[in-house]
């Protein structure tokens, strides 16, 4: 029995039937990592005491207990884990060992989760391909010459390659959903405020949200049950009751109203993706949903607004990486200005990669006096308009359907020198972050080249249950999620 190829809920069933143990599952997944990761490179680093972590008291407890999920998990390299080096796949954080657990990491540990390691990512989550990592790129398990998407590319690839049963990622403009789409798995970005950001190294604080990357929709609901909830250490976390998300897994979408924005079918959409989405619309209709074309007139401005707001926040969030207290420090070779400023400049010049520097410069520029109103303020106004578009749509529709990404996974290096075309990878995912609403990506087809295609569903704030219900129904009636890459 290939334990690593199972979903978390399948493994939990086996635990209940006493057919396997957490130790056995952990070992199996670890050997899968040892066999494959030199080719996939999903992990930046393994957990330091990974071989023994499955023997954590929490993991060997009675596995049938409610809330106890001894499942091997990959954590994105931007969630602080006590005693572990956390780098955001950036050179500038090398040598930073976190003295504390992020809220989600604590939740995972409390639920008996077995942390395998820290998944590779675009440096500080800046990117859509996981090529911007100081550890080198992660490769798409479906075609190793292609990118896995990003920035949670390591998390997505680890799950797709069965190198983890499930994973946590973070999503600022699509960083969970787009790699889930490229790797043929399920990725959920919860409502802003649903999952505490405490311990998540911030990219853009008003957009970041942690969420699950899983092999199917059921696992997504299970992992949400573990990580969702109020945390007083995060002022943006919302004190709303957390439902049992597995209760939303109902195979029925009769009468559900699905809006499909016409703006999603514009320039840049791969015809194969378009076909798959059109097929999905028909499938949903067959399953009893009311599918209608709608308009979200301001969404074409989403990418522009996003790159102003997100980079502004990032430029400030990344200011703390200055070589003074932790992480990497470059001592200046010669004194040019003064020892302190030279150290700042050299540390940041050598510690950050190109994309990080590009975004810090952009963000610094849009916040500069004299430009603030024209850029940052206007960006925020556009953001409000996009949110209004979506709020209005949700008055009439339960979910909004779009492609997750305009194309399937592209080739490694294909967009490295064309950042703008890379940014457009997130054209469909960004509006949900700007509006703070939940969105899920699930597999809905394959291209002629055998690459996965994903669809995105969005719902109103705190209605993850609606997403799970529609996604679950679709999944129950299709086979896409059962396909595995040939590795």
């Amino acid at each position: 029995m290939k334990l690593h190829s199972l979903t978390a809920h399948q493994i939990i069933d086996l635990y209940r039937e006493k057919k396997t143990s957490p130790q056995e599952v952990f070992k199996d997944v670890l050997s899968r990592i040892n066999a494959l990761d030199s080719r996939v490179h999903a992990y930046a680093r393994l957990y330091r005491d990974a071989p023994t972590s499955c023997c954590h008291k929490t993991a060997v407890g009675v596995v049938s207990t409610q809330g106890n999920y001894p499942i091997p998990i990959a954590i994105k390299d931007n969630m602080c884990t006590q005693g572990e080096e956390i780098t955001c796949s950036s050179r500038i954080l090398k040598g930073f060992y976190s003295p504390y657990d992020a809220h989600v990491v604590k939740k995972i540990k409390q639920s008996g989760g077995m942390i395998l390691g820290f998944a590779n990512m675009d440096e500080f989550a800046f990117g859509s391909s996981t090529e911007n990592s100081c550890y080198g790129p992660t490769y798409n398990p479906w075609d190793l010459s292609r990118v896995p998407g990003g920035s949670s590319g390591g998390s997505a690839a680890s799950v797709a390659a069965d190198e983890a049963i499930w994973a946590l990622g973070s999503d600022t403009g699509g960083s969970i959903r787009q790699p889930a789409c490229f790797c043929g798995i399920v990725g959920l970005k919860p409502t802003y405020g649903r999952v505490s950001r405490y311990g998540l190294v911030a990219f853009a604080s008003s957009l970041d949200q942690i969420g699950p990357l899983t092999k199917d929709v059921t696992d997504s609901a299970l992992l949400m049950n573990i990580i969702a909830g109020y945390d007083e250490r995060d002022s943006t976390s919302v004190n709303e009751p957390v439902p049992d998300y597995t209760k939303a897994l109902v195979n029925d979408i009769h009468g559900i109203k699905v809006g499909v924005p016409q703006e999603a079918f514009g320039q840049g959409l791969d015809p194969q993706v378009r076909k798959a989405i059109e097929a999905t619309m028909n499938q949903l209709k067959k399953l009893g949903a009311n599918v209608k074309k709608i308009s979200l007139p301001h969404t074409p401005y989403a990418v522009a607004a996003y790159y102003i707001v997100a980079t502004a926040e990032a430029s400030s969030n990344l200011a703390r990486f200055d070589g003074v207290r932790y992480g990497w420090r470059q001592s200046p070779t010669d004194v040019r200005k003064n020892a302190l400023i030279d150290m700042y400049e050299e540390t940041r010049a050598k510690g950050f990669g190109d994309e990080a520097k590009r975004r810090i410069m952009l963000g610094t520029y849009v916040l500069s006096s004299g430009y603030y109103d024209a850029y940052y303020l206007r960006g925020q106004k556009v953001r409000t308009l996009i949110k209004q578009d979506l709020d209005n749509a949700f008055k009439d529709y339960d979910v909004i359907l779009t492609p997750t990404a305009p194309t399937t996974a592209f080739k490694i290096g294909e967009k490295t020198f064309d950042p703008l075309s890379m940014y457009l990878s997130d054209i469909y995912t960004i509006p949900a972050n700007l509006a703070g609403i939940p969105a899920i990506s699930i597999p809905c087809g394959f291209s002629a080249q055998g690459m996965p295609i994903g669809m995105q569903l969005m719902a109103k704030a705190f209605d993850e249950e609606m997403l799970l219900r529609v996604a679950f129904t679709y999944e129950q009636n299709t086979e896409w999620h059962t396909k595995k890459p040939n590795l």
């Binding site: 602080c80 955001c88 954080l93 003295p99 200011a319 990486f321 200055d322 916040l367 500069s368």
Partner: protein, 479 residues
């Protein structure tokens, strides 16, 4: 050419709030701990940490705002002020930019023309930075992050002050108000109260402001005044000699008594303020404001007016009493049981205050109770002890906490009033001072005082001076 200039001054006061915990984390907010012991991942700005506003800091800020007659903003937010310095662990300071806790208030001061209103532009909350410590060898600098995250309220005046003296008076009145609120120890030496000043001059009658300079590094109200006086003089000199004032930040050198510029590079800041996305903007409930208002103590000016009216005190006596909230409170406690306010005020403002100053301590640290002080005053009034001996009893009382009666009998300080005991001393004094006696006889009765003083000394302060006077006068006129 003689040109008349008008001075324009605005002040920024930073006040550390004495909340139990820091403003955005749970670390203890205390002064003087070993370096880097009151720190946690949040105030160290470690990756992934988030701030959560300490409600006590907000309540303190509202309290300050109300005491400064300011309007409390119903909707507030926090902003990031971005700049790099090793004592600032996040690379930005969380502050308030356009929606401060309080705005548009005022403080009343007095100048030669009478009462004057000094506008308070705003009072906002922010976090303090750490402290750089420079190694003696000059090889390295160390950072102590204990102070990082200490809540500060910054109180900014309108450019309403017209002289260094007004600035000085404003600071003293402001400090007194803040002390009354008990939101800070207001100790400039510990850095819990800091003041920066903006100053410019303009020809009298001109409406536009002149170019201002910003003064920093003043560590007492006196040095604020001195720095302003120096800077006003410098501005005049520069302008009268045809030069132009540069807008810049200057550091006051207290020893040399001059201001000096910082390198212009260091002040070319663009702070890139923007709303802190980690702290959601929120509304302050009217109920909270009303509650804070209801709990406001009586403020110095109101207390002054009431003391004058209620106890028929002189403005001077009441003015001295209110300079210390604890003393004023003590005064009123005494008055409840002993209906001689003027006498109580005299003792408190005289002997007690003198003892406090000599010991450099506060009333709370002395073992003085209202009952004991009343007993002592009564003893002096009733002639049980002399005024002089009474002061000795007070000194003892402050340390021992004993009652006046106990101390008087322990030390044998009871006043001697019976004629037979005193007569011997009188005889001796008259015998020793024949010239003075002659003067008195020749119609200079004021010289009697000298003899009384001598006799008092002889008695060890125990003699009743009234009685002595009586006896001496009688003895000389009878002679």
């Amino acid at each position: 050419m003689t040109q008349q200039f008008e001075t324009v001054i605005g002040l920024e006061v930073h006040l550390q709030l004495s909340t139990k915990a820091k403003i955005f984390c749970g670390c203890a907010n205390v002064f003087g701990s070993p370096p880097n012991t009151n720190v946690c991942p949040v105030c160290l700005g470690l990756p992934g940490t988030l701030p959560v506003l300490n409600n006590q800091a907000l309540l303190y800020a509202i309290k300050v705002g109300l005491a400064l007659n300011a309007e409390i903003n119903p909707f507030i937010k926090f902003d990031r002020k971005n700049y790099y310095y090793p004592d600032l662990p996040k690379g930005y300071q969380i502050s308030q930019y356009d929606l401060p806790v309080a705005k548009d208030g005022f403080v009343m001061i007095k100048n030669e023309q009478g009462p004057k209103r000094v506008g308070i532009k705003r009072a906002h909350l922010e976090e303090d930075a750490g402290k750089l410590m420079h190694d003696n060898t000059g090889n390295c600098s160390l950072v102590d992050y204990n102070r990082t995250g200490t809540p500060l309220i910054e109180i900014v005046t309108e450019p309403d002050l017209r002289s260094p003296q007004e600035a000085y008076d404003y600071l003293n009145i402001l400090k007194l108000i803040l002390q009354y609120l008990e939101v800070s120890d207001c100790d400039m030496e510990k850095g819990s109260l800091r003041c920066d000043a903006n100053v410019s001059i303009r020809p009298v009658g001109q409406k536009e402001f002149g170019t201002k300079t910003e003064l920093k590094n003043m560590n007492s109200f006196r040095s604020v005044k001195s720095a302003l006086e120096y800077e006003v003089g410098r501005h005049q000199q520069v302008i009268l000699s045809g030069g132009k004032i540069m807008q810049e930040t200057l550091l006051w050198d207290d020893e040399k008594g001059v201001t000096a510029g910082m390198r212009s590079k260091e002040q070319a800041h663009d702070y890139r303020y923007f709303p802190d996305p980690d702290l959601v903007p929120f509304t302050i409930d009217d109920k909270i404001i009303d509650q804070v208002r209801a709990e406001l103590p009586e403020l110095p000016q109101a207390k002054l007016e009431r003391l004058i009216k209620q106890y028929d005190l002189s403005e001077y006596d009441a003015g001295v009493l209110i300079m210390d909230k604890a003393v004023a409170y003590f005064f009123e406690q005494c008055c409840e049981k002993y209906h001689q306010p003027k006498k109580i005020a005299n003792w408190l403002n005289g002997a007690v205050l003198k003892e406090m100053n000599e010991r450099k301590t506060s009333l709370g640290n002395l073992k003085l109770t209202p009952a004991h002080l009343i007993e002592l005053i009564q003893a002096v009034e009733d002639g049980v002890v002399s005024n002089l001996a009474g002061k000795e009893v007070l000194t003892d009382m402050l340390d021992s906490g004993y009652s006046a009666g106990t101390i008087v009998s322990q030390k044998g300080l009871a006043q001697v009033s019976d004629d037979s005991s005193l007569m011997a001393i009188v005889e001796e004094i008259i015998h020793q001072n024949p010239t003075v006696v002659e003067q008195i006889k020749q119609g200079k009765p004021s010289a009697t005082g000298f003899l009384v003083g001598q006799a008092m000394k002889k008695s060890g302060g125990k003699a009743n001076p009234k009685k002595l006077n009586e006896l001496i006068t009688r003895r000389i006129s009878n002679a």
